[in-house]
Structure formats: C-alpha cells, structure tokens
Amino acid sequence: MSSNTTENAKHSAEHPDGDGAGATDEDKKDDRMFECNICLDTARDAVVSMCGHLFCWPCLHQWLETRPNRQVCPVCKAAISKEKVIPLYGRGSTKQEDPREKVPPRPAGQRTEPEPGSTFPGFGFGGDNGFHMSFGIGAFPFGFFTSTFNFGDARPSPAPRGTQQHMEEQFLSKLFLWLAVLFIAWLILA
C-alpha cells in the first residue's frame, strides 16, 4: 500500500501532467495479472485452479506430471487436479498459437451443478479417493464385511449422495470397519 502511494507520488512529481505515465504503469500491472505463475509469460491456453491461480495449461500440466502423487497448486499449495481446473476463454482468444507439443487438450468447461458436500465427518480416514482394504486371512468370517469395506467405490445401488440414507450407509460401513479392526486387534492381543 504505502509503496504504491509513494510511487504514484513520485510519478506525479516527475510528470506534472502525468496521466500518460500513470496509465502505462497501470497497463503493465494489468499485464502481469495475466501472467502464468510458472513460465511468467502471459498465460496461453489459460486455466485457473479452484484456489484462483492462473497458469498456462501446458505449464500446469507439466507440473502435475512432475509430481503425480503430490499435486498441489504451485502458488498456494492447495490440492489441485486435472479435473478441477477451469479453462478461461477470453473474447477473441481463438487459436492464435499452435497447441503445444503433446500436451493433452485443455480440460473442457463444465456446466454441472456443485455437488452438496458429502464427506462424512467421522473417523479421519477414507478421504475422497475411496478406501480399499481387504483381508487375506481366509479363516475369518469376514466375507460379510469385505463388501462394506470398499466404501467410496460405486456399489450396486448406492443411495444418492448427501441424502440421509447415504449418510447412514456411510456410517454403517465405517462402523463395520471399526468393528472388524477391533475384532482383529482383540484376536491378536488375546
């Protein structure tokens, strides 16, 4: 803030009728606003992450490929993924550049409604990716449980997400999992 004001003051001192100089300065800042955070050029095939950071799609794609199992926003470290970036289409932005090398096409814009939050606030594991677990101990009567262990996966007829029934199913499957874990712990310790 303060440096801004001093800079402006300096400009008006140097150019008493200084509108011109001020405007070019502003223009420069505007340009920089649309620079890709990776290559520092004006973003081409621009995409913006959910956290609001702007990149060229080829640049961001290369970064995601660089660390496939830890995909974070280069600027703010928020989780980021190919599916969750939004392409920016400015007016008159029709192909002025050739699409670079072998980078896959920029993800398309989507018009789906946001899903109601469906994460269940219990037992801190599972996450968005689904939790898979199987027991290799044949003797235990766990066949009954195993199908419930793949929660997060599509099951034959899952209740619609976010509904009461869905929540209950989620809860039940987690409950069963915990019972199984406790049971095994008990078997081992006993």
């Binding site: 990776i38 290559c39 520092l40 970064w63 660089t66 280069p74």
Partner: protein
C-alpha cells in the same frame, strides 16, 4: 530471445526483473548469468542487525533444463560460508524449498529471500551437529541428499 529454451526464457525474465528491481542485500552477477543462463552467482550481504551483519557471502545457482519444474541446485560457495545450524561447511543448505517443497512458482528471488530470512532469524552461529559426518559422506550435489527437515523455525 528466439533460440532460448523454456527454462532459459524464464531465467531471462527473472534476470531482467532482478536487474530492474534488485532486492535489498542481494546482487546478481549479471555478466556471468548472461553468458550462461543456467549458472548464476549471487552476492549476498548479511542483513543489518543480525548475526551476519557486515559479512558477504556468495551463492551459486545451477539450473537444469527442467527448471522451473525442477528446483535449482543452490549452494554457498567462496571462502565465507555462513556459520548456521542449517548450512554445512561445504556450502550445502538444508532448506525444504530447495527440494521437497520446491514449486515452479518460486524463483531465484524468493529462494534468496528465504535464505536471507533463514540467516536473519539465527540466534547462535553454529554448524549443524552432523556437519563433520555429512561433509565427508555427502554427494557433491545437495539435491541428492535425502534431507530430514528438522526444524523450520531457525
């Protein structure tokens, strides 16, 4: 600017902006960098009011052609290596943004600022406890070291 690779193009931009607005206490050897954009030497001054006030250091940056996706290799060089709990006497620096926490949105400038602030927050000048062992056994390239980032507060 025609024949430059993407890494060099980005380094060229960084060099320009460091030339235009040099951060305090940090001074790039522009001639050297212009000869070879992938190898920079930076002179750094210990900030006033810190344990390093009045000292001068040299940092070497080596960039691969994957920069900025790949972090630069940054070491202190020359005859004055700062005595600091995260800086080994061979110039290697234990700083997470140089390996695990690197991001392509970081830059030479932000690395320099991190190092300046790392120096500035130091309360007691001493080498890392494992200095002797590390210096004898490490790879020449600090990026090959599997760092254990003990304590980011110093």
């Amino acid at each position: 600017m025609a024949g430059l690779s993407p890494s060099e193009r980005r380094l060229q931009k960084e060099l320009m902006s460091l030339m235009k607005e040099p951060p305090p206490g940090v001074e790039v050897d522009f001639d050297l960098a212009e000869q070879n954009l992938l190898h920079w030497i930076i002179n750094m001054e210990g900030a006033a009011g810190t344990l390093y006030e009045g000292e001068r250091f040299q940092l070497q940056f080596k960039f691969s052609n994957k920069y900025p996706f790949d972090s630069p290799e940054v070491t202190f060089v020359g005859n004055n290596i700062p005595v600091h709990p995260h800086i080994y006497s061979n110039g290697h620096i234990c700083l997470s943004i140089l390996t695990d926490d690197w991001s392509p949105a970081l830059s030479v400038q932000s690395v320099c600022l991190s190092i300046v602030s790392m120096l500035s927050s130091c309360k007691e000048k001493q080498r890392p406890p494992d200095n002797a062992f590390y210096v004898k056994t490490c790879n020449k390239n600090p990026k090959k070291t599997k760092w254990w980032y003990h304590d980011d507060s110093v």
